[in-house]
């Protein structure tokens, strides 16, 4: 009986012990701990944390802020690259045959709206619940959160157009918000956030990752440019030029070197870093984690985003060092497609814009300090991906390996090179575009020529005098000092690598000519930076004379590209459908009657 009693006692003891049955999660927090300055800042960092697409294991490469698929591969700037069977969804994108189930747009949707906008709204809501914040601190938080919200909305808008839901911290049920909007409503929402942010954010931030008022204005200007609202964009651009305190860096390449991250030209950079304990350098720009040279001597993953022959041809210049607007793509600049690395190949001697060999790495030309490009052996699968290495701009120097690119495993290309998302050169050329549109020819000329002038300051050096690279020495022509350049005298490092010339425009005959020059300059200056497709889309809406026919441009590219590869056989770009990505089918299914699909899908 004593036993029985104690038994019953035990039963009561334990059943009363709610404490015993309360096990709270470890290593995480409930919302209430963030109702203070430190907490909100931590949440804000969390909202910045996905800007670099570093969420690769949650979203894939389709979420990259560099938009290499939508902006570059789907345009005439670049190919998917790699191999036919790798990243199959991008095959459909390259050929403008995107299906609603393609996971790339789905990832962009997820990162921009599911993660980005949601986190910003969450922060704005929590700021509203937090008492005792100093006004200054609170306003800075509000401004940064709204800047980020605008940025994520803007990125979604680029890809999906006006068919995105406008959701704020006051939206009671985000899942009930339709994605059909009045004309300009999305733009206005983005600009409203940026205008608010610009009114509060400082001239400069002590932490370079945070936006300044100029970043807000620059992004607002870029947003206006998408709708060709030059009237609204112009004053913002002019103000940045006049009062922003930014100056062009001396060299074009300063925008693509780790050493000159966060420089005098930068308005807003996507911070990339390595060696912080994140797997696979996940806080470098993971969204372009596949886009590094593959195989052979350099050997990284995975050889995607190879520049197109069309882009290379676009760098051709005439006797005055000016673009060959009409006939640039009639004949291809000589390439080594189908030529073995061991076989002889003479790089072309045509004169080209010097930015070509910073943007594109091709056979026989030095590739940063990685040596002389060996051609086919350095390409993952040349018959498919074409003769050019993956886009060079986000790459790094061999001398930076293991310090600014520390990734182990297969994803070794991720590095600390920031993506200069907004910079003064953007502002100059957008300002020039505004000027061209309104016939202000001197202003357009001024800014275009400033950019071209700068492009002449630094050119790729190292003239290779042999047409068959010795197979026997690697790194052949690689290194950071002259002594490293073990080339047996077959490279003259005092000579330019190719025939470069870039001339200044003396004058524009009319607005149309000015606009064409500006458009060309935008293409060359920002080539492979994920803008081309969106630029073609907006220029398609310009009045005749200035208009770039997007469909005609891309379909002409498709046809001419068959000279190099067979990949684009039968591909057709259809205006009215292909200029926007489909709303992800899964989201359509989850919000029936709320979300509407794009036209044509």
């Amino acid at each position: 009986m004593i036993m029985m009693a104690s038994f019953m006692l035990l039963a009561i003891l334990f059943s009363c012990s709610e404490e015993f049955l309360t096990k709270e999660p470890l290593g995480s927090s409930s919302e209430t701990v963030f109702y203070n300055q430190k907490g909100i800042d931590a949440l804000l960092i969390g909202a910045y944390g996905i800007i670099d697409g570093g969420a690769v294991w949650e979203v894939s490469w389709g979420a990259s802020i560099q938009n290499w698929t939508y902006g570059s591969v789907m345009a005439d700037d670049a190919y998917k690259g790699s191999e036919l069977t790798d990243q199959i969804p991008v095959n459909d994108m390259e050929r403008w045959e995107v299906m609603t189930t393609n996971n790339y747009p789905a990832d962009k949707w997820k990162l921009c709206l599911g993660m980005g906008v949601y986190r910003c709204n969450d922060i704005l809501r929590i700021i509203g619940l937090t008492e005792g914040l100093e006004d200054g601190v609170k306003n800075e938080f509000l401004a940064e959160a709204r800047f980020l919200r605008a940025l994520y909305n803007f990125e979604a808008w680029l890809v999906f157009g006006d068919k995105i839901p406008i959701i704020t911290e006051e939206t009671a049920d985000p899942s009930a918000v339709p994605n059909v909007n009045e004309p300009h409503a999305v733009l206005n929402h983005i600009v409203a956030d940026l205008t608010f942010a610009a009114g509060i954010l400082p001239n400069r931030q002590s932490q370079p990752g945070r936006p300044t008022k100029w970043a807000a204005k620059a992004l607002a200007a870029r947003a206006y440019m998408q709708e060709l609202n030059y009237d609204a964009a112009k004053p913002l651009l002019q103000e940045i030029i006049d009062d922003g305190g930014f100056t062009l860096m001396p060299n074009f390449m300063d925008n693509y070197r780790i050493a000159s991250n966060n420089n005098a030209e930068s308005i807003f950079e996507i911070q990339a870093n390595v060696n912080d304990g994140a797997c696979c350098s996940g806080n470098a720009e993971m969204g372009i984690g596949l886009n590094w040279p593959h195989g052979s001597d350099i050997g990284m993953c995975c050889g995607f985003h190879q520049p197109s022959q069309n882009l290379v041809n676009a760098f051709k210049v005439d006797a005055n060092g000016l673009p060959m607007f009409d006939d640039f793509n009639n004949v291809d600049l000589a390439n080594d497609q189908g030529v073995a690395s061991e076989d002889a190949f003479d790089p072309f001697t045509d004169t080209v814009d010097p930015r070509l060999d910073w943007t594109v790495s091709r056979r026989g030309i030095p590739y940063r300090d990685w040596g002389i490009n060996r051609g086919r052996d350095w390409i993952r699968y040349q018959p498919y991906g074409g003769p050019y290495m993956p886009a060079s701009k986000p790459f790094f120097y061999q001398s930076e390996r293991y310090s600014l690119s520390t990734t182990t495993g297969w994803m070794t290309g991720n590095n600390a090179n920031n993506f200069r998302y907004l910079r003064l050169s953007h502002i100059y050329l957008w300002r020039a575009e505004c000027a061209a549109f309104e016939g202000d020819l001197p202003t357009a000329l001024n800014y275009v020529n400033q950019i071209r002038d700068r492009a002449d300051n630094e050119i790729v050096m190292g003239k290779v005098s042999i047409n068959q690279l010795p197979p026997s020495v690697f790194p052949w022509g690689a290194g950071t000092t002259t002594a490293d350049y073990q080339t047996g005298g077959s490279v003259d490092w005092t000579q330019p690598a190719a025939n470069y010339d870039i001339g200044q425009y003396s004058a524009f005959a009319d607005a149309n000519e000015a606009m064409r020059a500006v458009q060309w300059e935008i293409r060359l200056e920002f080539a492979t930076e994920g803008m081309r497709f969106f630029d073609l889309r907006r220029w398609d809406k310009l009045p005749a004379g200035m208009r770039v026919d997007m469909a005609a441009t891309l379909n002409a590219f498709q046809l001419a590209d068959l000279r190099v590869r067979t990949v684009m056989q039968g591909a057709v770009f259809n205006m009215g459908r292909d200029e926007y990505q489909p709303i992800p089918q899964v989201q359509m299914d989850l919000q029936p009657g709320v979300l509407v699909q794009q036209d044509g899908y």
Partner: protein
Amino acid sequence: MKRLTFLIALLVLSSITLLAQVREISGRVTDADNGEPLPGVAVLIKGTTVGTITNIDGVYTLSVPGDAQTLVFTYVGMKTAEENIGGRMAIDLAMLPDVFGLGDIIVTGYATQTRASLTGSVSTVTEDKVQLSTAPTVMGRIQGQVSGVNITRSNVPGGGANVVIRGLGTINDNNPLYVIDGVPVGAGNSINPNDIESITVLKDASSAAIYGTRGANGVIIITTKHGRAGEKVNINLNVRTGITKAVNQYDLVNTEEYGEMLWIQARAQGLVPGTNYSHPQYGSGVTPVVPDYILPAGAMNGEVDESLYSYPDYTIYKASKPGTNWYDEIYRNAKYNEVDLSASGGTENATYAFSGNYLDEEGMLIRTGFKRITFRANTDARFTKWMKAGQSIQVSYTDESGDLGDNGEGTTISNGYRTQPIIPVRDIKGNFAGTKAPAMGNAANPVATLYRARNNFSRNYRVLGNVFAEINILQGLSFKSLLGYNINQWNGKYYSLATFEASEPNRLDGLSVQNSNGLQWNWYNTLAYVTTIANAHHLNLILGTEAIENNEEWNGAGRTQYYSTDPKFMQLDVGEINQTNYGSGSSWALFSIFGRLNYDYLGKYLIDITVRRDGSSRFGAENRYATFPAFSVGWALTEEDFMAGTRGWLDFLKVRFGWGQSGNDRIGNYNIYSTYGTDIMHSAYDINGTNTSSVQGFQPRSMGNPDVTWESTNTTDIGLDAIFLNNTLNFKVDLWRRYTMDMLYQLSVPQVMGTATSPYVNIGEMKNTGFDVELGYNNTALSGRFRYGVSASISRYHNEIMKLSDDVEEEIIAGSERQINYTRATVGTSFPEFYGYYMDGILQTDEEALAAAQFGVYTKRGHFEFRDLNDDDVISPDDDMDYIGSPHPDFTGGLNIDLGYGDIDFNMFFYGSYGNEMINYVRRWIDLGQFNGGVSRRALEESFDSPYLDNNADATLPLFDLADGSQQPSTHFIEDASFLRLKTLRVGYTLPQQWSNKLTLRSLRLYLQASNLFTLTKYSGLNPEYNVYGDGSSMGIDRGAWPTPRQIIVGLTLGL
């Protein structure tokens, strides 16, 4: 079982009865077969718990009250016998063997029952069946031996088994609950299977409901060996040694044929070799030319100055002219060695069982292996007439070493088919060669991978056991208290050494270490009351409480760049960059009250009622407690008078019916909480622009649902147990239905609602129906010299999702491989099924292609024709994909054939599965050329337009042009994976008793055993058996799993 017989015996002994007119009865109990004395037989006065046990000589003495009428003799393996006392003072008995164990004591939850009195659906596996296999894990060993239990084994050394009982009750965790000697923990691969005395599987809710919230997926109760009272010391040495070898591999083309394949590919892609096609290795001619070197690419003899070789920057690879067979390079004759030493015995007041085991199992792939060392001590003692206590402890050490990746595209098995034959294993200086040579794809040299991972290990230290005390309070009333514990310490060490030979090399040597430790304790207290009223009503009542708490912690760290790769030097301290670390923990707790009543009337009418009330930390305060009721009834018809006429051929017949509710609480520990968390990847940012560091922030991590509660499953079971033909034929069948309600489903939340882990809600419903059949026949001939027996089990389940969410269109889409999903599930389907297009053959002509429904630009001559389900002449994923196959078998079954003649015994065990299909994802690589890896002979010879084909109508594969469309999920990838496998064939010889006695041995037995001698299947992959991977939603996708090896073992069992 033996232990429990003993426990009951002790319990009986310790009852204090003071009744008048006591007299002494004594006697001797023997085995009717051979006349040997039987020690340890329980002798009870019927209807009471008064009794004793026989001593070493089979002799017993019992004080019997004057009114006692009958004595009951029970002994494991013998038919329970009753003897009328009458006026006798000496009662001797020769016990008859109980072939089908009606009198066996079966361990059920917190109690035991005789087999005859069971009313729930319970299956058992005995020691001899556990010993048939050499699988390293307990569950791996009983594959095919129990009806209703589907087990799929992994073939990596030390590989575990996936166990599903009676279909999939949930889309969440379908693992059953394991209870080892009263401790609710899984066996993993650290329990010595030789220590197992019996395994009981509680399959229906009426038997499993005693485990409440954890019983819905069934319960597997494992009991280890104990000594027996009155047993002489029994020392056994068991040694076995053998060879394991993989016997199948993919049929891939050689180096020369690979060139042919490339040229076929070029033509398929519209190129004209000799004109506009060129391959870095095989040249640009009209026909391919195998080069002498592949690095430098395509070089011929005389063109390469080998003196320039410099590792790693300038390495030189000769072409492997005949072609490297990567499977030959990584397969080996692996050694298997096991030594097991045990001793057990007991006096009347104490028993003991000690064992030690050493297992060294080399993997079939080079430089992989599994080692296990275990020690066990099970001891029980009776301190006084009314109290006894005991304990059980196992200490184990396991070590899994090498690269044991299984069933994924990055594993060595997969790299075996992904690496081209032209690549040599090593370069001209003996360093590894690989895909660094141009146009070689991006696979990893599998030999190099296995070599570099040779020092990788995953080690587990485990202490598992219990202590208990049992007190007899009054006659028939006893109290038991048991404290169980399970302590785990796990350490892993993984080297990632530089892979300079790879096209996507890792250039930095890295090391990561991982650790975890866990402690789980459970404490249960039960009050048991056994009584018989009026000699007819048998009552057995148990009331109990149990508390369980589980705490785990884990951490890990890594660094890269080491001065030396000597494993002695490579310690975290000396790594130079990329310092990473992580760590966290988890815990849960459960508190329960339960009760169980067994009642029978004269053994004819049986009733079992169970109730358990559980409180769990995994649920919110409002929903913390739930009650799970169950009952079952049985009717032993053969006990009825009106069945007297059937006794000539029907020995036993019982029908059973049970209904019950049980739960599943394994849905994660913290679903009720909404949380924010940090994450270096997703919430950190280099806000300071440092290039090499980031600041940690927070992100929404999970959306909690405080209303979440457990899944509950209602099971109905109708069963029949029968024994026929003078105890030679037994038959057991169960028809069952499981219906799961409140199935937890992670609602698909639109992304605009945030991407934190969305909450689980109790919304889904799942139905499973099926039957289990067990059939056995045992007999002897030639006056007992020849023994033969056949036993078979057949199981079937049909699984159907009845509800996922309020949206009937809701789908679970899973099984994503290279951006293509293969499996899916929705209301009305099983979980999961294959999803894709119907492939209706290959379009033979341009005209056919024009007439076919168009799938973008894919539809053309030589490509697949997909079925246009909605007849709109367009193939689209929304309209033309469908559920096209199922990984679920129609039936699974096992068949044992036991033969014996004199001293020779023979066993054959077949295991099979019928009607299950598999997605052979490997074919995307080797048949369709994904990623420039190895290519199948079939692709060479049977692709459309292959020069090996006389007629394209015979083509089984499309144009080898690597088109995306061919890779879309379709019936093309679905294969029938039914199989029948001779799992075991064993011949044994036992030395005749008189000879072993001369050697002063108790017994000596030698045996030869072969496993997996043949497999009949139409499946073209390496292993039709590997059907489950990861979570259930990706079931049935073969990504290149380790094949089931053939194993030949010689064994020796020696008794002292």
